[in-house]
Symmetry: C2
Subunit: 350 residues, 2 copies
C-alpha cells in the first residue's frame, strides 16, 4: 500500500495552501469555484481519499456519533423488542442530525468499560434499570455527556422515563374492572443479580431497579384501593423471555389455582404468561385476565391478543437522542402511557 495522499499534497499540486484545500472539501462556499475545481482535479489525479476522519475528529473535537449502552442487557439487547424500538427512535433522530449510532458492545462488564473508554462519541445514551453501575461510572469518569433512559442517573444531563407508577396503577385498576380478584404480579428482574422465582418481602424490598420499584408500587396502590393487600398477591420474578415466564406461569397457576388476574411488567413476560395459561388449561380472558406492559407488535398476534399499557418506545428513544444532541441539559422528560385494550383482559362473558 502506497503512502497515504494527504491534503497538503493535494494543495501543493493544485497550487493553493492547505487551508484553502481544506475549505474546498469542508466549506466549498468559501472557495472560488474555479479554484475548487482545480483542487478536486488534483485530488482525483493523486487519488486523494477525502479528509481523514480521525484527524478531523481530533481537530474539531466532534465524533459525529452517539454511543448507546445497554448495561443490563449487553448480549440480549438485540433480542428484546423494546430495546429494538428504542434503537429505532434513536436511529431516526440521529439520522436527522447526520450523526451515526455506536452500539457499545461487550461480552462482560469489564469489557464494557473498555468499550466505553474506546468509543469516540459525543454523548452516551444509557438504557438501564438501576443507576448503580460500573459502566455508568466509567462514562462519568470520562466526563462525557450522558442521557439516561428508564432510570434516574445522578449527573446525567438528561433523563427520559415513564410515569411507571401511574401506568402500573392503571393496569391493575383495569384488571379489577374486568372482575379479577386474585392477583399475581410477574415482575422484571429486581436487581442486577439473577434471582428468579417467587419474591418474598425481602426481595420485594431489595428492588434496586427503578422501573420495578415504581411499577410494583403502582400495582400495589391500585390493589390496595380495592382492599387487596400486598400479602395477598403472588409475586414472581421473571427473566424477560417468554419461554421463561411461560414456565413460571404454569408452575404458579398449578400452586395457586385461584389466580384470575396477571399483571406482567413487560409484554414479553405477558406473552409467555398466555402460553403458560394455555398449557395449564386456563381460558383467557374468561378464567384469567392478563395485562402486559410496553405495547410491542407481537402482542397483536397472540391468542388472545394482549392487552397492555402502551408506551411509545420509539419516541422515547428519539427524545433521548434529541436531548443528547442538543446543547442544553438538565431536563427530565416523563412520558405517559395508555391502556391498550385487547382480548386478554375482557370482562368475563357469562
Amino acid at each position: 500500500m502506497a503512502k497515504r495522499v494527504k491534503l497538503l499534497d493535494v494543495a501543493k499540486a493544485a497550487g493553493v495552501s492547505q487551508g484553502t484545500a481544506s475549505n474546498a472539501f469542508g466549506k466549498p462556499d468559501l472557495v472560488r469555484p474555479e479554484v475548487r475545481e482545480r483542487i478536486f482535479e488534483a485530488a482525483k489525479e493523486l487519488g486523494y481519499r477525502g479528509p481523514h476522519v480521525m484527524a478531523r475528529m481530533l481537530r474539531t473535537g466532534k465524533a459525529g456519533a452517539l454511543g448507546v449502552v445497554f448495561p443490563d442487557n449487553l448480549e440480549y439487547a438485540f433480542s428484546d423488542p423494546v430495546a429494538i424500538e428504542l434503537l429505532r427512535g434513536i436511529g431516526r433522530e440521529c439520522a436527522r442530525h447526520g450523526v451515526n449510532v455506536m452500539i457499545i458492545s461487550a461480552e462482560n462488564p469489564k469489557q464494557a468499560i473498555a468499550a466505553v473508554n474506546n468509543a469516540a462519541v459525543d454523548a452516551f445514551l444509557v438504557h438501564c434499570y438501576s443507576d448503580n453501575n460500573d459502566i455508568i461510572a466509567a462514562i462519568q469518569r470520562r466526563n462525557q455527556r450522558l442521557i439516561s433512559i428508564d432510570t434516574d442517573i445522578s449527573g446525567a444531563v438528561g433523563t427520559v422515563v415513564l410515569d411507571d407508577f401511574n401506568a402500573a396503577k392503571n393496569a391493575a385498576r383495569h384488571l379489577l374492572d374486568c372482575g379479577a380478584k386474585n392477583f399475581a404480579i410477574l415482575s422484571l428482574q429486581a436487581t442486577e443479580h439473577d434471582h428468579f422465582g417467587p419474591m418474598n418481602p425481602n426481595r420485594l424490598g431489595a428492588a434496586s431497579h427503578r422501573v420495578v420499584r415504581e411499577r410494583m408500587a403502582g400495582y400495589h396502590a391500585a390493589l390496595k384501593d380495592a382492599g387487596i393487600s400486598a400479602d395477598d398477591i403472588v409475586h414472581i420474578e421473571c427473566d424477560n423471555q417468554s419461554a421463561h415466564s411461560a414456565k413460571m406461569t404454569a408452575e404458579m397457576l398449578a400452586s395457586h389455582p385461584e389466580i384470575d388476574g396477571i399483571l406482567a411488567m413487560s409484554d414479553v413476560i405477558a406473552i409467555g404468561a398466555l402460553d403458560g395459561a394455555r398449557a395449564t388449561g386456563r381460558a383467557v380472558p374468561n378464567d384469567l385476565k392478563v395485562i402486559g406492559f410496553d405495547g410491542i407488535a407481537a402482542g397483536e398476534r397472540t391468542d388472545p391478543p394482549l392487552s397492555t399499557m402502551y408506551q411509545d418506545t420509539v419516541e422515547k428513544g428519539r427524545l433521548a437522542a434529541e436531548m443528547a444532541l442538543s446543547e442544553d441539559g438538565g431536563r427530565t422528560i416523563t412520558l405517559e402511557t395508555r391502556l391498550l385494550l385487547r382480548g386478554s383482559s375482557q370482562l368475563s362473558s357469562a
Copy 2:
C-alpha cells in the same frame, strides 16, 4: 469547563516524561510499578480523564469499531427481524474482539454517503441486495475494507451469502411434494425502486437484486422439473412488510382463485400471506400451502405455524464480522439453508 488535563500535565506532575506516562496507561508492564503508581496518583490529583480517544485513533490509525450499513433499508433496518438477527451476530463477534458496532444511519442516500464519510471505523459491513449503489462507491472511494452480505460486491474483501438458488428450489419442491399445483411467488423487491404488484416478464428480467434473481431461478427450476412453466406462475412483488403482503395476497387470491401454493421470499411476507389467506377464507394448509424464507421467530407463533427455509442469520452476521476483523480477505462464504417443516405446508388431510 476547565481546560482539559492532558497526558503531558500528568507526566510533569509525576516527574516523568510524556512517553512513560503514556505507557503507564497503555502498556503498564513497561513501567516500574512504583513509577506507575506515582503517575496514577498524579492523574487522579489533576483529574485526568484517561487517554483521549480521538487522539489515540489518529496516532494508531485504529478506530476500534465496525461500521454496519443497510443501504436498502436505512430507516427500516430496525423493523426487519432478519436485519436484527444479523446485528445480533455482528454484535456478538465484535464483542469478542472488543470492538464496537457503528450503525451508519441516514435519512436518504445522500446523507448516507456523508454518514459513511464521517464514520471512524476499521471496516464496513454492507447488507444489501444489489451491488450497484452510491453508498458502496463511497466506501470504496475511501479505500475502506468492505465485507458484503447477501450480495456479491466487486472489490469486497469478503462476502457471505446463502445458496439462495438451492434453498428456493428445495422450498418449491417441498410444496410440490405437499400436492400444490398452482403457484404464486411473492417476491421481495426486485430493484432499488419501489414497484409493487404483479410482475410481468420484463420486470422479472430486470431484477437487479441478487437474492431475488437467485431465489426466483430456484423456484422456477423446481417447478419446471414438475412441468410448470414460468408463464403459469403468478408473480407478485411485495414490500417486505406483513401488512402489505397480506393485502397483495388477498387481492391475488381473489383474481386467481386456483392458487394452492405460495412461495414467499421472506417470512415477513409469508406471515402476511397467511393473514391474506385467512381474510379470503382459505384454510392453510388444506386449501393453500405456504412456505416462507428465513426462519424468524415470529413464524413459530402464526396460525398455522409457518414452514420455511431456515437460514442461520445470526451466524451469517457473525461470520461477516469475523471476516471484517481478521486480516486476510478475498473469501466468499456460502451458507446452507434447511427446510423447517411446520403447519403451513402439510399434505392436505382428506
